[in-house]
Each structure stands twice: as structure tokens, then as C-alpha cells.
């Protein structure tokens, strides 16, 4: 495998990793939203 090809693959993997972190952030934010809304529901029942 050429040096250039390996560098491209590494860059691609790094990019995929940063997208995965961003996706996880959105899903964690949703879980937090639901947890807070659940708390609000129970607190003011």
C-alpha cells in the first residue's frame, strides 16, 4: 500500500471518528432531554 493511500485512509478514519462523536453527542443530548422532562413530569404531578 502506498504512503499516500495510507495517509488518505487515516484521514478518512479520523473524519469518521469525529462524525461518530458528533452523532453520540446528539443522542446523549436527546437522552438528557427525556430525563429532564421525565423529572419535570414526576416533580409536578
Amino acid at each position: 500500500m502506498s504512503h499516500e493511500k495510507r495517509a488518505t485512509e487515516r484521514a478518512q478514519a479520523a473524519q469518521d471518528g469525529s462524525w461518530a462523536r458528533l452523532y453520540a453527542l446528539v443522542l446523549v443530548a436527546l437522552a438528557l432531554d427525556i430525563a429532564l422532562l421525565w423529572w419535570l413530569t414526576e416533580r409536578y404531578k
Partner: protein
């Protein structure tokens, strides 16, 4: 009628919106610029455009009303959206951007065949074409009732503003206008939130307001009960909502056209993920605004019915005596309620549990009496006109705004509502024009040059505006028709999403297999609608899963033809 200063703010804001969109897009002379803003928008513009498209005027007026009537439970409708944004970014967005398509349906011909593309584009044109009429008519009707203008005038004004922006500037103008419009909407909502909070009775802050709202069941945001017939619960929101949002954002050209305007897959994905991040909190605050209006009206006189046109008809009709009796009973019960709530709040602050319990019991009794009076008032409206619209949810927020907010702010709120009406109509009409030109005209006239196609795009926009306005004239029943738009979307979205997911994940399935699967999926959804009590959110899941499963099952017999 609105005051001259508010009218001036409204007119200035509307003119600014159109001029801004047109000025930013005055160089739109090519087809790609007209259809998908030349694939050149940065992610913040994509994000605002995507969010503005989903936030129609009815949503803007109805969501606080929904908070007033049903509390926070509606927020669960959006729980599936962030998951849908993630799935969309990981699957369809890179494919669409790599192929540089102008409409979502172009991809289907490349993956399957012409008939599958035509089926998906046809389902979209029928569904969205009819919905465009309601999108234009619904806010026009509410504004005409509230402002005292003719329905023809508000409808024509909205139509002209939308046509002016799209025909002259195309998708680029739509994207830039969206960014400004949505900023006005968010700013106005934030300002209104502060003013409503300040309008609460003397000495009452947000914590007290939440206690009053919670006691009336308005803060029940999450319901974890699994019930397919219940419209809003955690599971319907997460599962049904996920499939609905994935179909809407991934296969409805009015949204696909918005994120395809991104200058790269990165910009499109960032725009969609931003939407996924802020949507649930944003809807929560809009609903909470409605809950605060509910609390404010608990302490002061409120109309027994918020639609002034229907109320006036009942007050002067043959059942006027019934109407007046119910109005008196309502006013008396609400005065008792306000007194009891004030005593309850004061007792809670003083730590006097016995007085608090007594006042709470009296508040509950007054609430029951007020509900009974309202039921009688609605019965009087129905007796006066059996076809009357007895759903006044969309009028609640506007009635509060007109009677409580200061000079200038009222004009700003009305401008925001017009802006929201323009937002969704512009995206719809731009998408209908794009699909007509790319998926119909270009295929019927394969050799047509870019100038001809651009002219066709402008003509198609005009055609769909006229179609929407004509269809709007038949839209006499606002409440039921708005519901019908949601149901109509859910009738088709699941199947269309199933076609796209088959394209991505069932590699062996060919055009014949997915075409048969889509027809069977659609038949199953129609059967669910007609024969079962499943709420509409579930239809999206059923149509999608069935289309993918049948296409996968048929794939060995009807495989994909690999070009040689």
C-alpha cells in the same frame, strides 16, 4: 383590528423579508441555483432553512395553543427526530451529495429504474400538492379572523409574497429568506416568553406558575405507557416519530431540497445535526409558552371560546340565550377559580397547609364548573351551525398576544406568523417545482437546454401556487384539514422511506421487487387507516418495514440488474 403602529411594523417586516431574500439571490440565473441554491450554502443557513421549513405558521400558532389545552405531552412527538437526523447523516446525505442529485427521486432511477422513481415522485407530488393548499389557507384563515380582513385578501397576500420570493430568486432566495425569517420567529418567541412571564399576577414567578400548571396536569411531558391508540407517548414518539421524521427529512423533497443546498456533505450533515440538537428543547419552550398563557388566564377573565367569528355567530344566532347562559356560568366559575388559586398560592407561601388544601378543593370545583360551562358553549356553537369548527386551539395564543402584548410587539408577532407561513409554503412550492421539472419535464424532454428548464421551473412554481390557492378554496374546515394533512403525509411517508431504505440496505433487490413491495406496503397502510385504531404515527413504521421486508423477500426472484 390591529393598531396602526402594529400594522406599520408588520408591513415593514414583510417587505424586508422579501427584499432580503431577493437581494441575496439576485444572481440566480442557472437551474441548479434555482432548484438547490447551487449546492453552495454554509451549514448555519442549511440548519435555519431546515428548521424554518418544518415550523409552519399553523405550528407556530397551534403549538402554544396545544400547550394551553394539552400541556407538554406534545413534545414527545419530536423524540424520534434527533435519532432520525443521525441515521440520515450516516446513510442518505452522503449518497445524495456524492451523486449531486437535485431531487431525492433522481437517486431511485440510478439505483432501481424509471418506474420506481416515477412512483415515489408521483406519491410526493399528490401528497405535497394537496398539503400546499392547506399550508397557505390555514394561517390565512386564522389571520383573517383575527385581523378582520377578508380570507381572499390574506390568502392572496401570502401567495404573492411567496411567489415573489421563489419565482424571482429560486431556492437560493428561499434559503436566505428562511435564515432571516426563522431568526425573527425565534426572537419574537423569546420576547413573548419574557412578556408572558412578566404578565403573571403580582408576585408570581416561574416556580409558582409551574405549581399551578402541574396541578392542572399541564406539565405531564412524558408518558411511558405503551398504547398504540394513544397519539402522544414515549414509544409512539421514539418509534413512530423516528420513522415519520426519517421519511419527512429523507424523502420529502421540501426538506431534501433544503439540505441539498449545502455546499458539501459536511455542511448538510452539520445543518441537520444542529436541528437534531435543538429541536426538542425548542418545542419544549414553545409548549411551555402555551402553558404560561394557560396559567395567566387562570387568574384573569378569559373568553369561553377563543375563535371570535364562531363566538359572534353563536351570540347572534337562534341559540343566543344558551350561549349567554353558558358565558355567564363560565365567567362566574372562572372568577371563583382565580380567587381560590390566589388563596392557594398565598397559603402555600405562608406554609398554611389546611388553607392550601381547602383552596385547592375549591379551585378543583370551580374548574369542573368552568368545563361544564364551556361544553354548553360549544354545544350552542354546534346547534347554531352543525358545520362550525369547534376546535379553537389555533386562536388561543393570538388572542392573548392581541390583548396583552405592548404596541409594536403585536405587529412583530404577526410578522413572525406571516414569516412562518411563507417558510413552509416556499419550501413546498420550490420542492414541487423541482420535482415537476427534474422528475417529469426533464424526462419527457431529454434534450432541453438549461434556459428552457429554468423557464419551466418558474412556470411550475406558478402552476403549483395557483393549484394551492384553488385547492385552498375548498378547505372550509380548518381544524379537521390540518389533521388531515398529517394523516395524508403518514399515509405515504412510510412506503417512500421503505423504497429508499431498500435502495441502501437490500443490495440484491431490483426495481420490480421494490415496486411490488411499495404497492403492498401502501395497501397495508391504507388498511391500517381504514380498518384499525392504530394512531397515524405507527403507519409510518408499518409502511416502511413492510416495503423493506417484501422487497427483501422478493429479491431472490426479482434481483437487481447489474449494467454490463
Amino acid at each position: 383590528m390591529i393598531r396602526p403602529a402594529d400594522a406599520a411594523v408588520l408591513i415593514v417586516a414583510l417587505v424586508a423579508l422579501v427584499v432580503w431574500g431577493f437581494f441575496r439571490a439576485r444572481a440566480t440565473r442557472d437551474l441548479s441555483g434555482f432548484l438547490v441554491a447551487g449546492h453552495a450554502m454554509p451549514w448555519p443557513v442549511v440548519a435555519f432553512s431546515v428548521m424554518a421549513t418544518q415550523a409552519s405558521a399553523v405550528t407556530f400558532m397551534a403549538t402554544p395553543g396545544q400547550g394551553y389545552v394539552g400541556g407538554l405531552s406534545f413534545v414527545q412527538f419530536y423524540f424520534g427526530l434527533p435519532i432520525a437526523m443521525v441515521v440520515l447523516c450516516a446513510t442518505l446525505v452522503p449518497v445524495f451529495q456524492r451523486l449531486r442529485v437535485n431531487t431525492a427521486y433522481e437517486f431511485l432511477e440510478q439505483r432501481f429504474d424509471g418506474k420506481t422513481r416515477t412512483l415515489a415522485a408521483g406519491l410526493f407530488l399528490v401528497q405535497r400538492g394537496l398539503a400546499a393548499g392547506i399550508t397557505l389557507y390555514a394561517p390565512a384563515l386564522v389571520l383573517s379572523v383575527i385581523l378582520g380582513w377578508g380570507i381572499g385578501m390574506t390568502c392572496a397576500l401570502l401567495g404573492a409574497l411567496v411567489v415573489g420570493t421563489i419565482v424571482l430568486g429560486g431556492s437560493k432566495a428561499v434559503a436566505h429568506a428562511h435564515a432571516l425569517q426563522f431568526s425573527i420567529i425565534l426572537g419574537t418567541l423569546a420576547l413573548t416568553f419574557v412578556l408572558v412571564l412578566r404578565g403573571l399576577p403580582q408576585g408570581m414567578g416561574l416556580p409558582d406558575a409551574l405549581v399551578v400548571a402541574g396541578a392542572a396536569g399541564r406539565l405531564a411531558a412524558v408518558d411511558a405507557t405503551f398504547d398504540p391508540a394513544s397519539r402522544y407517548n414515549l414509544w409512539a414518539g421514539l418509534l413512530g416519530g423516528f420513522f415519520l421524521q426519517l421519511s419527512y427529512f429523507g424523502t420529502d423533497q421540501s426538506q431534501v431540497g433544503r439540505f441539498l443546498a449545502g455546499r458539501s456533505a459536511r455542511e448538510s450533515k452539520l445543518g441537520l445535526l444542529f436541528n437534531g440538537l435543538v429541536k426538542v428543547p425548542m418545542q419544549f419552550f414553545i409548549l411551555l409558552l402555551g402553558v404560561l398563557v394557560f396559567v395567566a388566564y387562570r387568574f384573569e377573565p378569559a373568553p369561553v371560546f377563543f375563535n371570535p367569528a364562531e363566538a359572534a355567530r353563536a351570540a347572534s344566532g337562534p341559540f343566543a340565550d344558551d350561549w349567554r347562559a353558558s358565558e355567564h356560568a363560565w365567567d362566574a366559575a372562572r372568577a371563583d377559580l382565580a380567587r381560590a388559586l390566589r388563596e392557594e398560592t398565598a397559603a402555600r407561601r405562608a406554609g398554611d397547609a389546611a388553607t392550601e388544601r381547602d383552596a385547592h378543593a375549591r379551585a378543583l370545583a370551580a374548574d369542573v364548573a368552568a368545563s361544564a360551562a364551556r361544553t354548553r358553549a360549544v354545544a350552542a356553537i354546534q346547534s347554531t351551525d352543525p358545520n362550525a369548527n369547534t376546535n379553537d386551539t389555533n386562536y388561543i395564543f393570538l388572542r392573548y398576544v392581541l390583548s396583552h402584548l405592548p404596541l409594536g410587539v403585536v405587529g412583530l408577532v404577526l410578522a413572525a406568523i406571516f414569516a412562518a407561513a411563507m417558510n413552509s409554503s416556499m419550501s413546498e412550492l420550490n420542492a414541487l417545482a423541482s420535482t415537476t421539472v427534474v422528475d417529469v419535464v426533464e424526462r419527457l424532454r431529454p434534450g432541453a437546454d438549461e434556459r428552457t428548464l429554468l423557464a419551466w421551473s418558474r412556470l411550475a412554481t406558478l402552476f403549483w401556487v395557483v393549484f394551492a390557492v384553488v385547492f385552498a378554496q375548498f378547505a372550509a374546515r380548518l381544524g379537521s384539514l390540518v389533521e388531515a394533512v398529517n394523516i395524508m403525509g403518514s399515509l405515504f411517508y412510510g412506503t417512500i422511506l421503505g423504497i429508499f431504505l431498500t435502495a441502501l440496505f437490500v443490495k440484491r433487490a431490483g426495481g420490480h421487487a421494490v415496486f411490488i413491495a411499495a404497492l403492498l406496503g401502501e395497501a397495508a397502510v391504507i388498511a391500517c387507516w381504514k380498518l384499525t385504531s392504530f394512531s397515524f404515527l405507527w403507519w409510518n413504521l408499518i409502511g416502511c418495514v413492510l416495503t423493506v421486508a417484501v422487497a427483501a423477500a422478493l429479491a431472490p426472484w426479482l434481483p437487481r440488474r447489474i449494467p454490463t
